[in-house]
Symmetry: C2
Subunit: 283 residues, 2 copies
């Protein structure tokens, strides 16, 4: 998200107080490999999207004494958090822009998470999470990266060789320089904590497991933003939830970057997303 | 294909002489695990789609003295063979119905093949193809099955719980009773021979690697059949090739079974495909 923030952009720090918390377990915030004691490594507790949102709520209310948010936004698991925010604290969130994510993890996404986790934990070096060095799981991380390469961008991107626009000379260079380079430095246990959190994501629990009712409780003016060629979160999954949100619009962008259009690596994607932030903030 | 053949169906054996060859390396035809000698197991030679088609051609011309085919059809790798047939022997093939497959393997399909092969060969029991018993690779086969479960049918099928229509009581039962049950009995080396054959599929070699030119050489009346929610072979990939085939039509069916709609497990899919065979044969 950080590259969407700056003078002259919709998320202008000279105009707004902008807060970007890390999510729990992401390797920068409290995570399996950066703590000691009996919750370290493979013994790290399972987390929920709600755990993140409650921690963020406490940061805002107890530390900064903030009780109203002009906009809550986030991508992918950040979208899960955004919707959890809008459902959990409806009077606090004036506007919401979940991007390529849903309030309830879909069965297909749950399957996707299982597939990429299996790619990682089947590496003998993973050793049930009790590895000695995260880099020893390089083969598992590499296989996981390939699963992301398969569904993270559109099939059409590969056919049109649009990795050229990202500065790569071949598909193989794109696989290595983009996908493997993204995932190989990550910590396997941290990845798994986030993966399972993604998979368990379900804000319907705030309305007796009635997803429609949970979404109907949102008061925020909401732009449900998605990408037409997103294989993780296809437009149908967004429409399925958006139709229950009162003051909402479905905003679909056509990028061949699929789920990863949010990176804004294609200038037109960046401009379109920045434009939606502007439009929503002006309303 | 066998279930599309029968009295009263479009492919009526009382009306036509129907020949169904197995593909090389599929576990029934000559395959890594059913031969002895220095080409057995991990030493089995790499095969091409052309190897299948040439073997079939020789069967027809040398054994049966056939020099004209009313219809060539096949699904997935069978579609690759169908297009290879129509390009290689344009005067022999009067009608062609490739179903959910292309003359040239797409870069995204090639990546898909890599991902499911990695799931299999990373199983330590695989032992570079020199395993003692195919069932010892059960974990790798199971992971491969999950990759197929992820992209073989539509995401919407999982959300709408349409596995119920196939007789399963839960998503987990569908994963085990359909996908794992499909792949676990297979021989890993045979799967890899087929996978690499799929990946190398490229009929453009018959026209100096000019795919458009190769497709333009097809004389058969062609129905390029596909499935709207096919994540292996999306409609865009079919259209990309179909537009170069002179006497052709793109026929898209809407099934939520995705690539596996061809199984005809939903009665309406079966009827639609049978109907297309009828229409093409009547022309």
């Amino acid at each position: 998200m950080a590259h969407y923030i700056g003078p002259g952009k919709a998320l202008d720090p000279e105009k707004y107080c902008i807060i970007l918390p890390n999510q729990l377990g992401n390797g920068l915030s409290t995570s399996p490999h950066n703590i000691d004691g009996d919750q370290a490594m493979e013994n790290f507790p399972a987390l929920s999207i709600g755990d993140d949102v409650v921690a963020q709520y406490r940061l805002l209310s107890e530390k900064f004494n903030i009780n109203q948010l002009q906009l809550v936004t986030g991508w992918s698991m950040g979208a899960q958090q955004t919707l959890e925010w809008a459902i959990r604290y409806p009077d606090m969130v004036k506007r919401a822009a979940p991007i390529a994510g849903t309030a309830q993890c879909t069965p297909h996404n749950a399957l996707y998470v299982d597939v990429f986790c299996e790619a990682l934990i089947s590496d003998p070096a993973f050793n049930h999470g009790a590895y000695t060095d995260s880099h020893s799981c390089e083969m598992g991380l590499k296989r996981l990266a390939h699963v992301f390469a398969l569904m993270g961008v559109s099939a059409e991107l590969y056919k049109q060789q649009l990795w050229q626009r990202l500065g790569f000379e071949s598909k193989q260079a794109f696989l290595e320089g983009f996908w493997e380079a993204w995932f190989k430095p990550m910590d396997p246990n941290a990845l798994l904590v986030m993966a399972r959190k993604w998979q368990r994501g379900d804000s319907s629990q705030h309305a007796n497991n009635d997803l429609a009712l949970a979404l109907q409780s949102i008061k925020a003016k909401t732009f449900m933003i998605g990408f037409e060629n997103d294989m993780f979160v296809p437009p149908a999954d967004l429409l399925y939830e958006q139709k229950h949100i009162q003051h909402s619009e479905l905003k679909l962008l056509p990028s061949l970057m699929g789920h990863f259009a949010m990176l804004g690596l294609f200038e037109e994607d960046f401009q379109a997303i920045d434009g939606l932030f502007s439009e929503l903030l002006a309303s």
